[in-house]
Symmetry: C2
Subunit: 231 residues, 2 copies
DNA sequence: GAATTCCAAACTGTATACAATCTTGAATGC
DNA sequence: GCATTCAAGATTGTATACAGTTTGGAATTC
């Protein structure tokens, strides 16, 4: 009977989804009154949610001018992916050193179970969710809540970069990249052998490769998308 | 003439300082009305600032019960320091690979210039600021804004753990630890040689050593501090 | 005396009003 | 034309009011 989720939480989640789904254009000013009507809440809880998103780096804020969608520059994308390498590789290192065998085996089972889904997935969202969950489960193995929190934040902000990347991959080659699964397996093998060097090397290579592709995909998408301003 | 800082920013900074200076006891409920009077602002901007702090992990929030100061458990401290290792070691790695020589030399000069201050500093706050700025300048060398943002956040939350640690060190041994300076020099030497392995090894050891001491210091401080509840 | 119920006070959640500031575009001068 | 000024409208900033919820303790029951 008791409410479990606050209105601010609901608004916050809705905004995060909107941000991940291109509802705001980069550098676009966000109109609080209009948005509060769309979301069915007054400006007070809306602004509380917007402040959370600013603190998390999704949006920016200028005094007396309000909230803005963050622009998507190549150097920003580089920063985000490098931060992912930092978080994930250290988490993997910790997992190699002290994750229980049972947890590693469960992770391996999970990968086995999902491989067919990976092969058959047709929806971009589905592929994206599978990939994200591999990485976030990996970080969970470290048992470190701060690393998990940081990865969750990065994933949220990288999400639509990934979508652009996946879209391009699908359009380009009909034979969809099985590269992810094999890269993931390679990381797992290092982890199972408790070989920090091998595991982190594989993970670092995987993420950096993805970064290069994603940067290029975003560059191309933007050069096609933002020709004039279609207002 | 134009205001450069919003009221929310001012309130936010004041709250961060309060959090770092033990103004809130762990697990303490924060009374919005009382706090808004102290800070000279109404509840609306106060709550916006509090929401930022929740997003950054300084405080927690429960629906219909409000905001709470985060408790300081050993596993939380471990998580924070491990996250620092992740951020700082990757930043150092990047700096080894691509920071300009001029920047590294400037960093070295900076360390030379501050060494005497390190030796003469008597105030805990002063020592703390010196140590924090070594680490944040190191991360600046990577040129990655996300890593800088993450470290800033971690430093803010670790600040009072460090204070407890430094206080204990001062009380314990009159000959104050010169260990920091020499550890910092060792990291710098690795960086100057562009030796990723040597540099990150030194940095990792330094942070992990600090973590062990800090965890112990907090354990002792809390066992002395929270005997009953002194209301 | 211990457990339970219930009520009043305290507190949080949010809509709203209004002041302060910015934006836009028309009018003006060059 | 082009730049400048100015005012009306739009938008943000925040105090306040009030509804909804929780809290703490007095009253009640066993």
């Amino acid at each position: 009977m008791a409410k479990r989720e606050s209105n601010v939480d609901r608004v916050y989640e809705a905004l995060r989804r909107m941000a991940a789904d291109f509802a705001f254009k980069p550098d676009q000013r966000i109109n609080e009154s209009a948005l509060s009507e769309v979301l069915g809440a007054s400006r007070t809880p809306l602004r509380e949610a917007l402040n959370r998103l600013v603190a998390e780096g999704f949006l920016t804020f200028q005094i007396n001018r309000g909230f803005f969608c963050r622009p998507l520059t190549p150097s920003y994308i580089l920063d985000l992916y490098e931060a992912r390498v930092a978080i994930e590789c250290e988490a993997l290192r910790i997992a190699c050193l002290r994750a229980p065998n049972a947890d590693i085996m469960a992770f391996s089972d999970y990968l086995d179970r999902l491989e067919p889904e990976y092969e058959s997935a047709t929806e971009l969202e589905e592929l994206l969710t599978l990939d994200e969950s591999f990485h976030s489960r990996l970080v969970q193995l470290s048992g470190n809540s701060e690393l998990q929190r940081m990865l969750k934040n990065l994933n949220g902000r990288i999400r639509y970069i990934r979508l652009i990347d996946l879209k391009r991959m699908r359009d380009q080659a009909e034979g969809r990249a099985p590269g992810d699964v094999s890269a993931h397996r390679q990381v797992l093998q290092g982890l199972e052998a408790r070989d920090v060097e091998a595991a982190t090397r594989a993970l670092r290579n995987h993420i950096e490769k993805r970064r290069e592709e994603a940067t290029e995909a975003v560059r191309i998408a933007f050069s096609q998308l933002y020709v004039p301003d279609e207002d």
